[in-house]
């Protein structure tokens, strides 16, 4: 297999909050630090956000004494409609992925569409036996 298999996650979510509030929740360090890359057992120890095109971000979540950085760079910052950033977690993978957020204002809140594009690593080492389980899991969700 080529090692540039692309995959995409897309999901849509409605919020009762305004498009502006939802948009700002991604870029305000205090607010974003409370949900974006936070984990239930981790502690968000540092959030740096340079919210402009070309600006970088780094969220550091401390998990069992280990600092896990979530890093990326903003490619589009168009409040409150569109936010695009690259994203990677170097601790787990060097692969850079891209997240595209689009927010549409509604009369009673807003709708957010999230697309996360990945460039996948080669999974050659994964065994065929593990595959049947994955397939059964996938079947349940189709």
């Amino acid at each position: 297999m080529a090692d540039d298999t692309r995959a995409q996650v897309r999901m849509t979510r409605r919020f009762t909050a305004s498009a502006e509030r939802v948009f700002d929740a991604w870029l305000d360090p205090t607010t974003a630090g409370r949900w974006l890359f936070a984990t239930p057992t981790g502690e968000m120890v540092r959030v740096k956000i340079d919210a402009r095109v070309g600006g970088a971000f780094c969220f550091t979540d401390r998990r069992e004494g280990q600092d896990i950085d979530h890093i990326g760079r903003y490619e589009a910052v168009d409040r409150p409609r569109r936010l695009v950033f690259t994203f990677s977690v170097p601790h787990f993978s060097r692969e850079a992925t891209r997240v595209i957020i689009e927010i549409t204002a509604l009369s009673d809140g807003c709708e957010l569409t999230l697309v996360h594009e990945g460039v996948l690593p080669d999974f050659k080492e994964r065994t065929v036996s593990g595959w049947t389980m994955i397939l059964d899991g996938l079947a349940a969700s189709l």
Binding site: M1, D4, Q8, F15, A17, F123, G137
Partner: protein
Amino acid sequence: MSDTPDLDHTLTALADPTRRAILRRLSRGEARVTELAAPFDISLNAVSKHIRMLERARLVTRRRTGREHILSFDPAPLTAASTWIDEQRALWTARLDALDALLLAEDRAAAENPEKQGSSDG
């Protein structure tokens, strides 16, 4: 488009119980078309159509030895795509749940302490 497997083809290929059963059989070892068709109560022609869809998704590869067509299973598109997608979907669902909860908590706090709310009207 490119020569990378198309995820839509992968998911379409998987959206059918007969095709999933064919893949399960092939995950235990390669097989001839006739061997694959045997357990199914459908025509050889129908099985061949299913196999072509699996080939299009690159989950199944075919080689010829003489007059025999031997089919084998290639899990790479499936494992790579589905593992990453499952993980990311779960992560983003949890994150957006957390965002929703956070915004609702802010709303409740504002409702309980209206005088503390700034000029923002949400």
